[in-house]
């Protein structure tokens, strides 16, 4: 999860051997990803009203992430990820708030290939994945827009359909339901369309859809893809007028992205990737622009 303004944009995992793509690790192989993402926004939707706020000026967010993917079998991968996040406002700003930094949520997951067969002039594969994450430090979720994350356990159920033509064109649809639990604030009262006399906040769950089209080049050592992502929260309140967001907000957004990945043929197992994403519409979401770069290294754990 990459999170801003309270407004949590599901982390894209740079889409390399991620729980949401179509790639699977061969059995007993492991892949490490080191990814860095920079995001910023100077506008956000307060309810459905797009606004600026000089109290926070431009909010910057940096996420460094280490992730490992491991092939339990040729059909089942396991994932482990841990991001470090830092946030701040640009200076000058009217609020003079300190930013935040620290370890965000640890995530563990599984991806299973349920089906694969040739269909027409290509191959269709279907996947199911499950990703659980939970805060790995005592960061404060109720400190928006600088919070590192939503501070709640999350469980993402995803179904992925991937169709790839023999020439290398492909298209992928991911439908996910992200259940989010509760986060504990450090205050014992908050307003969420009414009084709540508790530090616990209900973080809305959401439906998420990602639609991707892409193509492999250079004998499958390079791929390029563009994607459209959408999140619809199933509950939650709106950010109130000129007020800080809070974890109970209903965060909806649509986002366009581009992604490229290259595997070096000279160095076996080494790859690099780059991504760019732009949130184009939303509700209680930041109009976030982000760039990411990453490096992957894959090798077998079994002695040859």
């Amino acid at each position: 999860m990459a999170c801003t303004l309270g407004l949590c944009v599901p982390f894209i995992y740079s889409q390399a051997q991620s729980p949401i793509d179509e790639l699977l690790m061969p059995k007993n192989e492991i892949c490490f990803l080191l990814n860095y993402e920079y995001g910023q926004f100077d506008q956000y939707w307060e309810g459905d009203f797009l606004r600026e706020n000089q109290t926070i000026a431009t909010v910057q967010r940096r996420t460094a992430m280490v992730m490992a993917a491991y092939g339990i079998s040729d059909r089942l991968d396991a994932y482990l990820g841990l991001p470090y996040v830092s946030t701040n406002s640009t200076i000058p700003n009217g609020g003079k708030f300190a930013g935040a930094s620290g370890i965000q949520d640890v995530s563990v997951g599984l991806k299973y290939k349920a089906y694969e067969s040739t269909l027409g002039k290509g191959r269709l594969s279907l996947f199911g994945s499950l990703l659980f994450s939970t805060p790995a430090s005592n960061y404060l979720s109720d400190y928006q827009p600088y919070s590192l994350g939503l501070g709640s356990p999350q469980l993402a159920w995803r179904a992925t359909g991937h169709y790839e033509f023999d020439q290398g064109f492909y298209s992928r649809l991911v439908i996910g339901y992200i259940w989010r639990g509760y986060t504990e604030a450090e205050r014992e009262y908050y307003y969420n369309d009414g009084s709540f006399f508790t530090p616990w906040m209900d973080v809305p769950s959401s439906w998420n859809i990602d639609l991707t089209v892409g193509k492999w080049f250079l004998e499958r050592s390079l791929r390029f893809e563009i994607s459209y992502s959408n999140q619809n929260a199933t509950s939650g309140d709106d950010i109130r007028a000129y007020n800080a967001p809070q974890p109970t907000n209903q965060v909806d957004f649509s986002r366009l992205g581009a992604f490229a990945q290259y595997y070096f043929s000279q160095v076996k197992g080494l790859g690099v990737l780059a991504s760019i994403n732009q949130v184009v519409s939303g509700r209680n979401a930041p109009k976030m622009t982000s760039f990411g770069v990453g490096i992957t290294y894959q090798f077998s754990l079994k002695a040859k």
């Binding site: 708030f97 299973y112 450090e186 205050r187 007028a241």
Partner: protein
Amino acid sequence: MKKHLQKYIILAVSIYVASCSMDLPTQLEFESYEFASIDENGGELNPILISKGSEITVSEPNDITSAEYLEELSEVKNRIANKSDQEKRNTRQWTNNPVVRWNEIALELIAKYNLIPGPNPDGTYTLPTPSNPQGPPSFPFAHPPYASRVLAYLSVSQYDGLIVAWHYKFFYNRPAPYEIDSDIEHAYVAQPIPSYPSSGAVVARVSKEILTTMFPLEADYLARMEEEHLEALLLSGENVPSDLEAGLDIGKEIASIALERASLDGMKDAQVNKAVSDSIADAAFDRFGWKWINLESPSRPVGLTPLFGKVKMWNVADVKDTRPPVPPTPGSDLYEEDVEILKNYAANVTPERRRIANFWQDGLGTYTPLGHWNDFANRYIVEFRLNPLRTARVLAYLNMAMMDAGISCWDAKYYYHYPRPIQLIEGFETIAGTPNFPAYTSGHSVFSAAGAEVLAHFFPSLATQFRGWAEEAAISRVYGGIHWTFDATVGTTQGVNVAQYSIDRAKTDGID
């Protein structure tokens, strides 16, 4: 492998189910309870707004053997026998201490309206005004001074109304319907409190009237709350319609006396224009050589309610009697020591300091520190099983003392006009929001100390705890980076001092 996957899915589902069931309380959880005392002589207490309980006239009720009464009784009996599950829940939810429930309604509206107006597209700001409550910005902005005043008028009116009700209850001694007819189901705990006039109806009407004036856009909501509450009173088995009518009349009369006072207390002049605001700042600069300025972007032309310090106090004759001494001059040794302390806190946000800063922050969008202390009061009122009269008494003295504390604090704030840390320490950043008014003294510190002293008076076994909380609330603002330590420590002393005036009055009010 499939087996493993299944296991994980089962684990995941059980996590889902387990965490799904959290019950998030939207009000203090309690049910009808037996009061620690009945206070048959409660009608002789000294009220705040009127001279004595018998000052308001309540006519003699029909005798319980009269045809009129028997008709009322059979109507109520019939309605109770046929009440729906929803009506039962509603009746239970109002409980036999609705003073707490109406206090919670006030807290909720404070939180709903505690939103600072943002800038217009051209960088100007528009102030909320009762002449155009819709706005934008909507009226009111329920900031801490506003909240202190809402709660003071609400609680004082409830208290006076209940003194009147208590006076006539034990004067006319009309039994409750459930006592007259044992077939009438009683929703609450049986206690020997006469039913005429209905204390619940007094509370409902007085609260609705006060809150509607304070939150004009909530008129419909409050009318609905009153209606629900009156319904619950009839369905509880404690009242017949004529009990309610007599209570409503008392409520209306007390509310109009309270609102008359409110209209003349100076609050309507508390928010000044830029010319007046500048002259207040310049006067401080001439006097002391410093002045606070707003650093927001775009800068707000006027601070929050500069003349709240001139609002009529409840129990202090002259605000200047409670004005604290001059704070340390910027550049002095004392001041520089404070700068070092603040820089150290900012550089070392420990989990404990962060927790304290957030726990007591009670900032924009919340029920404010006033709400927090009312919230505490409600918990102990229920724990100590106070009856509605004693509940209103605690809340009236608490909220008078806290409003007086706010007035005293605002007097100091705009007399000294002392800058905030972000204004004087280059590059300083905070973990709490810096408010739109001068630093010295800290509002949280003064409000909390006053609140703690009053609660310590009424719940002496918990005095140490309350005072400890007030000190924590005070230092929380220093941890948050928005106050100097002397804002907090001097503010605490100021709050203790101001509260004493209310406590002295409470000591002579004729009970205990």
